[in-house]
Symmetry: C2
């Protein structure tokens, strides 16, 4: 398998795990409540994503870098949304 083909698999993986956060963003923004959403989870995950990003840079993996850059931004949105609407329970 060529490096290019491997990177395609990585980018498919990245697309799925990144898109995964979109329904949660829509759910929170529609219902204006983050009830049931664990803010702790998103904060811990955000820290992890920062480490993954560094790891991606160090191993030169375009997939790891792209995935964690985009989902890091999405996670930040969820955290901010959840914090703003956490009293709407």
């Amino acid at each position: 398998m060529s490096d290019f083909q491997i990177e395609i698999i990585g980018l498919i993986a990245a697309a799925f795990t990144t898109i995964a956060f979109v329904p949660q963003v829509i759910k929170i923004s529609k219902k204006r409540t983050a009830k049931g959403v664990s803010i702790t989870m998103y904060v811990i995950m955000f820290v992890g994503i920062c480490f993954w990003f560094c790891y991606g840079v160090l191993i030169n993996s375009i997939s790891v870098i792209t995935a964690n850059l985009i989902s890091g931004i999405l996670q930040l949105f969820i955290i901010i949304f959840a914090l703003i609407h956490r009293n709407n329970n």
Copy 2:
């Protein structure tokens, strides 16, 4: 930076993004409701995790393999829990 040091960063990243799902599992199991939790999100993410696992194997990254093996199992638990308790809204 040695390969060993790089892998340590990857494993720290893996630890954070894996542990991140634990509070959500506890929250769902305690409240016996998955209200606010997007099942769609976890299903899409689970598919992505399967691709990440393959990618990890292909690039020989212990961190990517470990992270996605463990969080894949945790995700499955969340999905099953959420499906069982989704009527408890």
